[in-house]
């Protein structure tokens, strides 16, 4: 049971959502946008999310699109992970999100909710980081598109009152060779340890990582080291690990040394699977 009360509204347009958010904010309600809502509900039960107003964006048509617009795939923020996997317009995204939570939970979790969530894994963002995708943000000045690399820095950098409407990915990236590997501490269930998504574009391997640090990321330095010519795989992976200047997580799921060990193995798997290394 969620112990506190909140208002609930279901706008049917971006403008209406923004206006409602402004009004609730003005009245001190600390509004939140709600898509699948799984995190708001579970953290709300623990009082780790507190809000006086929930703005459910599932009835906004732009948020529900999942289709091609010329050479661009448009993915609405409220598409469920199950829909993404089953319609399968974007195989790397399908594979990556198919490992999030479980099948029934994915019937509710949405791509936008995963990317904007507080829980730090946010694996759904990895394919978008690899494909130089754009995000469309709903704001009071109207929708605006922005390169994901400019707005996703540790998390989606949204101004107060803004929300994620869509993600847009160029078709040319959708049929490139890819790998998405998730490692858990035990078997195929349980919380993730590290997830790596990789894409080969113009003979270079791109890699994005979740679970190593408290945010998902893509590192140009790591990719440069891995793709360096005329060096053994071991040397390149060692250089790639050294290039990381991040705070590696050290928690009950895995120590920082263990996480780096797992990452090293994952990079080996990626480079043998995609990079042509043996």
């Amino acid at each position: 049971m969620i112990s506190y009360d909140f208002h609930y509204v279901r706008p049917t347009s971006i403008v209406e959502a923004i206006e409602l958010c402004e009004a609730f904010d003005h009245n001190g309600k600390n509004p939140v946008y709600f898509s699948g809502g799984t995190e708001i509900i579970t953290l709300g039960r623990l009082n780790e999310v507190q809000t006086g107003a929930v703005i459910d964006i599932k009835s906004i048509p732009e948020c529900n699109r999942f289709e091609f617009e010329a050479n661009t795939l448009v993915i609405g923020a409220t598409k469920t992970l199950t829909d993404i996997e089953e319609i399968n317009h974007f195989p790397l995204l399908s594979k990556t999100v198919s490992e999030i939570a479980d099948r029934t939970a994915r019937n509710k979790i949405t791509v936008g909710g995963n990317i904007c969530g507080q829980i730090f894994y946010r694996e759904a963002v990895l394919p978008f980081l690899l494909t130089d995708s754009e995000v469309v943000i709903g704001s009071k000045d109207g929708p605006r598109a922005q390169a994901i690399k400019d707005i996703f820095k540790e998390k989606l950098q949204l101004n107060r009152g803004e929300f994620l409407v869509q993600l847009k990915t160029k078709r040319m990236f959708l049929d490139q060779p890819f790998l998405s590997i998730k490692r858990r501490r035990q078997w195929d269930t349980g919380y993730p340890l590290i997830t790596v998504a990789a894409l080969k574009v113009e003979e270079k391997v791109r890699i994005a990582i979740s679970g190593l640090t408290s945010y998902p990321f893509r590192s140009p330095e790591l990719e440069d080291a891995l793709n360096a010519p005329n060096q053994s795989l071991k040397r390149r992976i060692d250089a790639a690990i050294r290039s990381l200047h991040v705070d590696v997580l050290d928690d009950s799921e895995g120590s920082n040394r263990y996480r780096l060990f797992v990452l090293k193995r994952l990079l080996t798997d990626v480079m043998t699977g995609l990079g042509g290394d043996e």
Binding site: Y4, H7, Y8, I41, D56, R103, T104, A105
Partner: protein, 160 residues
Amino acid sequence: MANPNSYVITTNLVINGEEREVTFRNADILLDVIRNHLGLTGAKPGCLNGDCGACTVNVDGIAQKSCLMLAIEAIAKEITTIEGINAVIQGTFMDEFAFQCGYCTPGFIMNAHSLIKQRKNPSDAEITKWLESNICRCTSYIEIEKAVKAALRMGPEKEE
């Protein structure tokens, strides 16, 4: 529809084919409304965190963990609980002794019911992937899988 000035709503929910008028808080999860307001106690509270699947119901034919859904989200949708089905899968659960304490059984059945209705011929891997959404503390997994496969063999058209 939701009143933006209120914390409480009185509305009709369609559950097991019946329209029922019910009053609940915007913040109430579907599980609590089904059990405490509508008196249907088949869906079980377990982890209340979306992990165990004991509270699984079908919403518009799709398996949903009712602890992960606000009741207000279910307006204008068709909710089906274990009390609302008379399906082959219930019989095969008994035939295969696919339960021990039975607490997880309604959740497993509602998940499997959705699978059988949506997939005519799922692979073993697909069945496993769906069933991973539910936890059985008594570890009846082998028997549960047998029950699902037995129901599938009898044909999805019989899974009413």
